[in-house]
Structures are given as C-alpha cells and as structure tokens.
Symmetry: C2
Subunit: 481 residues, 2 copies
C-alpha cells in the first residue's frame, strides 16, 4: 500500500481534467455524424475488451479518457446524431449538459426540503413556469391544490399516478391491507408498456388491466372505455385508474382526452394523461388542440428529456391534488423528521416519487429554459414538425409506400406496400449502412417503419438525406413495378 495521504482528485486537477472532458464533448458534438449511428458492436465485444479485474492502484485520468475513445465509443449508439430517427428522441443540449454538471458538482441530495431548499424550490418554480407555457390547467400550480415534480421517467410518473389512483379509490386501504383482487385499470391497446408494468408492480395484476380497443386512427374508443367500466362496476370490481395518451409510442396516436375525462369523472376514476413525447409540442399554441381535455386530468406528464433539449432523466409530472399523491407515497421514519417538514410550509419531494433520494435535476431544466427562452424552444419544435411533415409528403407521393397512421406532429409511420419481408429488409439495410437509424412497430399487424424527427441537430438536409437513402435501398428491395 502506498504511503500517499490522499487519493482524491484536487480542485486544481479537477479543473484541468474538467477542461479536457469539456473539450472532448465539444469534439464529439462536432464529429458525431462521422460514427455509424447504430453501434456495430457484437454481443459481448465491449465486455471482452475490458479487463476482467478492477485495478489495484489508481491510473492517470488521461488513460481513462483514452480508453473512453478506444473501448467505449465503438459500443455507442449515437442518440445525439442528427441522423438518429429511431424510437423517440432523447435530445440534449449544451445548457442541459452544463446543468447536469453543476448538479453533480454540488452533489446535493434533495429528498427533503431541508436537505437543500433550493433543490426543491427551483423545481417547484420551474414546474410552475411550465403550466401556462404548456397551456396546462391552473390547478396544477403549486400555489393551488396541485403541483409538479421531476421524475426520472414517464414510467415512474405513471406508477406514481396509478398508486395515487389506487389509494384514492380505496380510501388508503390498499396501502394498509394490500390489493384484494378487485381493482381495475384501463388503457388502450396502443398504450405504452410501462402501464402494464406499473399495474403488475402495484399488485393489481395484468389480467385487471383493460386494454380498450382503438379506432382506425389508433386512438382509444371512449365509448368502449365507458362500457367496460360499467361492466366492471356491475361485476363488483373497483375501477381506479385510466391512462390516456397524447402521442402513443407506436404511432403518435392521440387519445380523445376530453371524452375519456368525462367517463372518468362520471365514475370517479383517476385520469392520468401521458404526453411523454408530444407534451413538448404544447409550447406552440397551434399544436395545443391535441391535448384538449387535459384540464380535467388528475395527473399529467411529459418528458423534456425526449424533445425539449434536456438530457435524460427529466420527466415533468403534475397532479391536480397533491395531497392524494402524498398520502399514497409518504412514510415518515424518525431519522427524516425535521422542523421544516412538520411545519407543513414546505414540499418534501421524496413523498412525490418512488425512491427516497433525488438529484438536483431542476438545474438542467432551468438552464435550458433560460438559454433558449420559450421562443427558442418553439422555433425548434416547429422546425422538427415541419421537417417530419415534409417527409410524410414525400412518402405519400411515392406509390410504393403507404402511411398507415395519422401524422399529427414529428413521427411518421410508413411502410412499403410490398409486405413485411420487404420492410424488414429495408429496415435492416438502412440501419446496417450506419448513415441513419430507424426503428419499427406493428400497425394492423403489419411491420411498419417509424421516422421521428426530434434530435437537437437534425436539420432539413438530414431528413432529405434519409429519404434519399430510403429511396435508394427501396430501389433494390421493391423496385417500381
């Protein structure tokens, strides 16, 4: 063992290495288009390239950065590439990255108000800011009965909403006595899998999740929802939760929130609105019609870490009645008691989420909003929608293709009329080329490609090139008749 007194990185060394890392990231920003978008690593390849034992003694930081390039970068799928059109985006930006850096540097733990009041109060303020910016109801404001909080993901937000709905429906009895097999939750056949996962986690059981049929546009049938709730109630079951989606993951379908909300109100069922992807669009007044009815939701979430230039993780979650959420999630041991919490004058966000601990995530959202301003955010969202709509027009004009779902915003679902094999071949060829990355879904049982425009640096030229590549590959797979 060395006689060294401290192995810590000094402030001066941190400054030096920090500059190097910042320069490394700036370089990555400049060169990201040079990498194949989808990593070409084979299963186990990165693992095998890493030593199988931890180092006994410390190594120079320079060597770690070299290994980052040498060992890690070949295994990166480049989500920040302007040619990343897969899944939903996870767009980041300079101010977001720097907000995350400040958060790591401060290293505060925001579980309670008192463990860093600014961590809680900046979050409250920024979430309040977004309520009018997104045209959300005033009752979501912290100054009223509601309030907002940052979750790691829409999955976790949905789980919290489900638990609040479960406890409201049973007068907090489930928290004490457990589920009794009578609770029921509802979504559509197109709803994100996180709802089924939440229903399982919460002890309700997947058999008690009613996946309501959708219409020709893949939107939930509110009439069938009403029927099913009535049937369940007649059968002595307890409907406790409905999830409506503004922009499904598969095709960006928009559930009819107003009509669903009416059904929920009639039956006293918790309505959660998941706008993980499309919520960002509501910063533009012209897209706000898509969320009509949200003013009646019990809870709502959207992900700045998808389309609002804020690196993962940052899901914004609001409730209309914060006491319902807190009652469902609060457990108070002695070692967390403190005067501020007991005064009732502060928010302790630990009671608004699944884990106890929490990072200072509001910083990055604050940095993003201040850097861009609302007008800057609007500009880029409008541009993404414009590019996706142009792409959809090109596809529509090519008789070899069809567009099987509406294109409300920035996701285009499209497929060759030539069938699943042709579409699979097209997808594989495109992704193997490394020049772009697309993923797929199934609509009406048929393999369908998805192109989502939402990465920070994606511009007209990238979308145009994507279409050229698709046409080129199609020429060999499904030549014109």
């Amino acid at each position: 063992m060395s006689e060294k007194k401290s192995f810590h990185m000094s402030a001066e060394e941190f400054r030096r290495q920090g500059h190097a890392v910042v320069d490394w990231i700036a370089g990555y920003m400049r060169t990201v288009e040079q990498f194949p978008v989808l990593s070409r690593a084979r299963p186990g390849e990165i693992l095998a390239s890493l030593p199988d034992r931890a180092p006994r003694t410390g190594e120079p930081f320079e060597r770690v950065l070299e290994d980052l390039d040498r060992l890690i970068m070949p295994g990166i799928t480049h989500w920040q590439s302007p040619n990343f059109f897969a899944y939903f985006p996870a767009n980041a930006s300079g101010p977001a990255i720097l907000g995350e850096l400040v958060s790591a540097g401060l290293g505060v733990q925001g579980m309670l108000w008192s463990t860093s009041p600014a961590c809680t109060e900046l979050e409250t303020r920024v979430l309040d800011w977004l309520v009018p910016v997104l045209g959300l109801p005033e009752r979501f404001l912290s100054s009223g009965p509601g309030g907002g909080v940052i979750q790691d993901s829409a999955s976790s937000a949905a789980l919290c909403a489900l638990l609040a709905g479960r406890e409201r429906a049973t007068g907090l009895r489930t928290n004490r006595e457990g589920c009794d097999g009578r609770l029921v939750a509802y979504c559509s056949t197109q709803t994100h899998s996180s709802i089924e996962k939440a229903v399982r986690i919460a002890g309700i059981g997947a058999d008690r999740l009613r996946q309501i049929e959708v219409d020709s546009q893949f939107a939930m049938r509110a009439d069938l929802l009403a029927q099913r709730i009535e049937e369940d109630r007649r059968a002595g079951l307890v409907p406790c939760f409905v999830c409506a989606t503004i922009g499904t993951t598969s095709s960006n379908a928009i559930d009819p929130v107003s009509r669903i909300a009416q059904v929920c109100r009639e039956h006293g069922v918790w309505l959660h609105v998941d706008a993980a992807m499309c919520g960002t669009a509501a910063i533009c007044a012209e897209f706000r019609h898509l969320q009509a009815g949200v003013e009646q939701a019990d809870s709502y979430c959207f992900n700045p870490h998808k389309w609002m230039f804020t690196n993962f993780d940052c899901d914004c979650f609001w409730v209309a009645d914060r006491s319902a959420l807190i009652r469902a999630l609060s457990v108070l041991p002695e070692y967390l008691r403190n005067q501020a919490s007991e005064s009732g004058a502060v928010i302790d966000y630990r009671d608004w989420q699944i884990p106890l601990g929490r990072r200072f995530r509001a910083l990055k959202l604050w940095f993003v909003i201040r850097h861009y301003g609302i007008e800057g955010l609007q500009h880029h969202v409008r541009e993404h929608v414009r590019l996706a709509q142009a792409f959809a027009d090109w596809v529509r004009a090519d008789e070899r293709f069809e567009i099987p779902a509406p294109v409300p915003l920035n996701l285009v679902c499209f497929r060759l009329r030539a069938g699943d094999d042709a579409n699979q071949a097209l997808l594989d060829a495109l992704n193997a080329g490394g020049e772009l990355y697309l993923t797929h879904t199934r609509l009406d049982g048929r393999l369908t490609l998805r192109l989502c425009v939402g990465q920070t640096q994606t511009q007209a030229e990238h979308v145009a090139r994507a279409w050229r590549l698709i046409q080129d590959r199609t020429a060999t797979i499904a030549p014109r008749g």
Copy 2:
C-alpha cells in the same frame, strides 16, 4: 419572433461555457467550508427570489451562472462539505463528476443492449469487478446465473427485490392476477422506511409487513423471524420476502445475515440484503466479517453514491438468479423488439429495473474505480472508520454523554444523559451555528444524535473540530454537575 435560425449552443460556445462551469465547480470545491453547512433559507425564500414567469427569449449563459451564485447557493445544504456529518453521506469526487459529465455529453439511453451496447456491457463489467472486491458470492457474477445492475437508489433496488420475491413465491401468478392478501414480507423495527414503502407499492400492504423485534444492539432477532414465518405459514399466508440490513440508517446495526439466511432457506423465502451504506466497507478485508452470510442472499445492494465517492445516483444491485428478476419485471412491446434481445445473447437492463429509460451511470463508477484503484478506496474508507472510532472514544470518555448503540464503522450515535430536551437544544445549537451539520434518530425511545464520517474531504481536523463544538455547546446546555 426573432429571425434567428438556431438557438442551440454551438460546440465552441459549449467549450467556452463548459470551462467556466468547471472552474465554478473547482472554486466551489475550494470554498465549500465557507458556507453554513445547513442552508439558512426560510421556507419559500428561494421560490420568491425566482421570477414567476419563464423568459420569453433566451438569456446569456453568463447571467444564468450569476444567478446560480446569487439565487441558488443561499438555498444549498452543503452535502460535499467536510463538516457534513448528517444522515448518511452522499460523497462525490472529481472522477465521478466527470463521468457524469461524459454521460450527459454522450446522451445515450441504455434501456436495451442495442441502444448502446457499451452502456450495458461496461455496467456488467464494473458490477462483475466489484463482486470479488467486496467479497460477494460468485453466483452474483454475470458469467453465472446472477448479475449486477445499477439502480437509482437502494429504495428502488429493494422494490425490485421484493417484486422478484413476490413473483417467485407465487409462480408469477401475482403479476397476472394481482395480490390476493396472503403475501407477507419481513424486516426489523430498525429497517429503512423504503421497505415499508415498497410493500405498500407492491400491493402487499403495510399490515402484512412484519417488523421483527431487535436485540439490544438493534439487530434483527433471527429466532423471532423464524417464529413469525412459521406462524404466518400456519395461518395460510405466503411469506415471500425478508430484508436484512448491514448497517441500519438509524444506528448502523448489523442484522445477523447468516442466521436470517438459514431461516429464509428453510422456508424458501427471498432474502434481500440492504448494505446501502456499509457495503462499501467490505472493500477492506478487516470489515468483511460484518456481512457474513451474504453468500446466501438472493439479492444484495450497496450505494457507491453514499460512501464510495460516486455522485448520486448509483446503487449497485446484484441478484443470484437473474431470471427471477427478469421474469418479474419484463414486458415486451413490439417497438422494443430487436434481434440482439431475441438472440438471448445480451442483457437488456430495462428488465432489471422499474423505469424503462436509463442513463449511462456505469461511466462514473468506472472513472472512480480507475482513478482511485481499490487501494485508494480502501485507504479513504479506513481513514473514515478510524476518525469515527476516535470520535466515539472521545464521547465515551466524557461522562455527560452515552453511546447507546455499537459503532461498527463510521456512524456514531451519541446523546447527552441529560435527556431529550438537552439533546434537542444541543442539536439545534450546533446546526444553527453553520459550522457542521448533524441529524438525529430515536433509540430506545430517546432522542439520539448521529455523527457519520464519510464525506470525501472530511479529515481528522474536521472531526476534532466537531467534537470541540459539541463540547462548547454542551457546556452551556448541560454543564458538568
């Protein structure tokens, strides 16, 4: 609206502002002792200092950094201060902060292997590294039937373990049909509140959580656990989960894992071992006896974000049988299907956790282990334990105080013999002074102060000063008789 074409921060501007932020953090590292450790902000003060509307147009980044100093810093409780002795530490370090920065800069989403193979495989490798380093059983290795994953917190790890235990006990029936009121979970009266929260979330109900009595050292009575499980089984209930703790939050009590494991094995109950805080100590062979029996656990977690110089969030969670965990948590929609996953040759960590999305958290842990080396980590852990033991000796030598619980490692529980009012007055006076920060618990019903040595920069002088301050304040509150 401006005619500007892009509002994004350019790579060059990122470089410039990134250097400024790095310098800001280096400055914070140098000056952290100048702030009062516990923020003096009053409820609502930070909130009121922030504008009540989001900015319409973007602002210069310099102004945001100015506001960080002016508006946010007064509301920070300084977890990174060497005089932070409260709760459990959340220690960070230069390499960890820079790992977080690289993770934010790459902005990858590691939900599936294919969405960034390196994100998954570096995590697998680093978690495998830690198995021998911590003296954990080989069956936790990914090369066998087990494996490790990074969770956000020990709370989430416990919830995942509980769900795996719940599903194993019911043959996956609960995931389908929901809880039926017969499942039972076990912990001690001293176990962290996250277990009660998990039991509520999972639909088991707090009434079905048996909080087993502890012995005089606040450790779970394995004999009473066995009795209770037998009673419950005779009553037709289904024991599904036991949580044993290595280092409780209240007093660092060490549950007898070996004896608890024997009980669990006899009854086929899932044993989760929560070593959130003390797990780090096992990197030193001389402290490893505290975890005797861990080789029989079904799951285990510890938090590098507490005591291993890795900024929050980073909880390492292992299971002996990964298939039990994956079966409990996996839901597979079409839009996440991919060849690599279906080949079975890769790990998709989305099936090892509650949320779908995940950051590249392994980077910071990798940076930390490579920077310090195992010997560097050992050095600092030993030093923290030495300082805490010295503090305990000083307290023991002062007749005004008593130490009501064993001090196995770096947490000292102590109190004035003069009673709760005196201890509350002492705690309040110390924290109001701003020179250190302590929190409390209750042991045997009596208010007890806690001093935990674990912050990165805490050295002998800081602990010595803490003791001087405690003596000074005590002189006015509980003068020698």
